[in-house]
């Protein structure tokens, strides 16, 4: 079993069902006792470190899970009224509602419950991801079926089904999936999970070839396992940075054509459009470059998170200022500036921040 094999260092902890926090406590106590007695604390030191890494990854797991849940929720709310604008004229238009609700519930629940994070979350996430891709195809077809089809791309993409919205929703699923692959501090050892998940996570734990020398030199076992953890986290970090880039780009496209409708009447409408490529560049850069990951990515992500909130303000204000204002609440929420879109933008920012907090392989 991959997981079992990969964690020989904690084999001495026989209480496999205890969660990491408990293990950490016990280890800490043991360490203190050893230090008191002046014994060799090195092994314990190592164990403490491993368990701490566990806790760290667990926290990321929870955060990511939360972000996935929230973005699925926001995306779901958005699609609810976006599809209402299209009158649910096909039954399949209900599917993203169900799928995003699934991820929202699974991911938020998964923050507290390991079992849900391991079982329902990946399934729900895969469904949402699949739904996003299906929706993308349907939206391409939808634009094609508008009068003039793809020969009038500007008009038909702006007025037709929003092309990238399904993919944006799909990123929620993607994040959920990643979250379900991250380890948690309360993971039991051995995991006892079906082989599928282990196979999926195995890649994260498989070190590149150049490290095989390290591995063989049994002397630096502690060092080795530390490196491996770094590699694992680094991979997640890269994936998240990539996801941030993609999500920023999709968000930017959405803003581009929905703000186009309004002829960019307010200069602030350019903000998300101009910011998105920068975040995307930072996210992509962060995959290869550590400096970017540690500077540009958090900076732009923070900017995105803030600009989302600014957008929220303007969108709410715009909704209130519409003819009829609060007298036509449902209508003005549907046809006013979408309230959830800027929040979705913020959540991209948070994703980027999270990515920049993760440690890197290098």
């Amino acid at each position: 079993m991959a997981v079992k094999a990969l964690i020989p260092a904690v084999e001495d902890l026989s209480e496999t069902l205890l969660d990491a926090r408990l293990r950490w406590k016990r280890l800490a106590e043991r360490k203190a006792r050893m230090v008191e007695s002046g014994g060799l604390a090195r092994d314990i030191e190592r164990d403490v470190q491993i368990v701490e890494e566990y806790i760290r990854e667990g926290r990321f797991q929870r955060s990511l899970s939360l972000i996935a849940g929230i973005s699925a929720l926001l995306g779901g709310l958005e699609v609810t009224y976006e599809h209402y604008q299209g009158s649910y004229s096909q039954r399949i238009m209900y599917s993203p509602l169900v799928a995003s609700a699934g991820v929202a519930v699974a991911a938020c629940w998964g923050v507290f419950d390991r079992r849900v994070a391991r079982t329902a979350l990946p399934i729900a996430s895969l469904v949402l991801l699949g739904d996003g891709v299906t929706g993308f195809i349907f939206h391409i077809r939808g634009v094609a079926r508008k009068p003039g089809g793809w020969s009038l791309p500007v008009t038909n993409v702006t007025m037709g089904p929003p092309l990238f919205a399904p993919l944006l929703l799909g990123t929620g699923g993607f994040l959920g999936l990643i979250a379900s692959l991250l380890r948690r501090e309360d993971d039991p050892l051995p995991s006892g999970l079906p082989g599928l998940w282990e196979a999926a996570t195995a890649w994260f734990d498989k070190p590149p070839d150049e490290f095989s020398a390290h591995r063989r030199s049994g002397s630096a076992q502690a060092e080795w396992s530390r490196i491996r953890r770094r590699i694992r986290e680094g991979r997640f970090q890269r994936i998240l940075a990539g996801a941030t880039a993609v999500s920023a780009l999709l968000n930017g496209m959405e803003a581009l054509y929905s703000h186009y409708k309004n002829n960019y009447r307010y200069r602030v409408q350019w903000l998300p459009i101009l910011l998105s490529p920068v975040i995307a560049a930072a996210g992509l850069g962060a995959i290869w470059n550590r400096t970017i990951a540690e500077t540009l990515l958090p900076a732009t992500s923070l900017a995105a998170a803030i600009s989302g909130l600014v957008g929220l303000y303007y969108h709410l204000r715009g909704t209130l200022r519409r003819p009829g204002g609060l007298k036509l609440p449902v209508y003005n929420i549907i046809y006013g500036p979408p309230a959830f879109a800027p929040l979705l933008y913020s959540s991209t920012g948070f994703l980027g921040l999270l990515a920049s907090l993760l440690r890197r392989g290098d």
């Binding site: 009068p147 003039g148 009038l152 500007v154 008009t155 702006t158 007025m159 409708k261 002829n263 009447r265």
Partner: protein, 288 residues
């Protein structure tokens, strides 16, 4: 209120605009200007400076906007219909040459185009002639009206009679200000002459027939759409920006300029038709 008669009287007594040049002289001036260049008295003016505004290819507040330039985005059937309208001027077949000439000068006052350059004049009379020749009607005739063709013929005779009655000169010989005054008597529902004709048809309905026919010719032309900033045909490409009067990416924003009708014109002010009884002249267009 007998605005029309009053207006005509005022003029005969002494022009309300202090413009007493002999009518026929003015007419000759206008005719002459056709050869020598624009007659500036015919032009609308800048109200601040009083300067005449030179004729333009495209009057209106949307400079550079061209619906015809968008024709690649129209469907074929629409493109054919609109281009046919722009490119083809039907010959006069219903009106006699004299009637046609009179009709020309009448329509030039109903929808004056002196602010348009020669190349961008929208033909009107030939469109009306085409409709009457083909016998196309709007699906009904008022009880108190003869058939459309006959009504137009009678109307022209009446206009001529009013011109003779007020000024003793043929309508086509009159200056534009006098011509407007003749027409205004019909607009106001108080024609001072041709009683026999008005026995046979309703004054206000004839006026509506005349003006509506001119409107249909003028405002169905892409040049007129450009002038008023209307988007023109819109299929398969529809609109994206529906609210707040925002222009599409291919439309242009309004750029207003001030202008006023030429000083001799009374049609620049708005007076209710038929002396104000609008209920007697209900609209005839479908809207909802």
């Amino acid at each position: 209120m007998a605005i029309g008669r009053q207006r005509a009287k005022e003029h005969v007594a002494g022009s309300p605009n202090g413009n007493i040049t002999s009518q026929s002289e003015q007419g000759a001036q206008a005719a002459q200007s056709k050869q020598t260049g624009p007659d500036t008295t015919m032009l609308p003016t800048n109200p601040r400076t009083g300067e005449p505004l030179a004729p333009r290819a495209q009057p209106g507040y949307y400079p550079g906007f061209s619906t015809l330039r968008q024709q690649a985005f129209w469907d074929e059937a629409t493109r054919n219909v609109v281009l046919e309208r722009v490119q083809h001027t039907p010959p006069i077949r219903f009106f006699s040459p004299e009637e046609a000439q009179l009709m020309e000068s009448v329509c030039a006052r109903i929808l004056p185009q002196d602010d348009r350059d020669e190349a961008h004049i929208i033909p009107i009379v030939c469109r009306i002639d085409e409709r009457l020749y083909a016998g196309r009607i709007d699906g009904y005739r008022y009880e108190d009206m003869p058939p459309d063709g006959e009504a137009h013929r009678l109307g022209l005779r009446a206009i001529e009679a009013i011109a003779q009655h007020l000024y003793g000169v043929a309508f086509v010989e009159l200056g534009p200000g006098e011509q407007e005054r003749v027409l205004a008597t019909i607009h106001d529902g108080e024609p001072p002459a041709a009683e026999d004709i008005w026995q046979r048809m309703s004054v206000s309905r004839y006026w509506m027939l005349l003006v509506q026919d001119c409107i249909e010719a003028y405002y169905s032309h892409p040049y007129a759409w450009d002038e008023i900033g209307f988007g023109g045909p819109a299929y398969p490409r529809g609109y994206v920006r529906l609210e707040n009067g925002l222009p599409e990416s291919w439309e242009v924003n309004e750029r207003r300029y001030e202008w006023r009708a030429p000083s001799w014109a009374i049609s620049g002010e708005y007076q209710p038709m038929g002396g104000g009884d609008t209920a007697a002249t209900p609209g005839q267009e479908g809207t909802h």
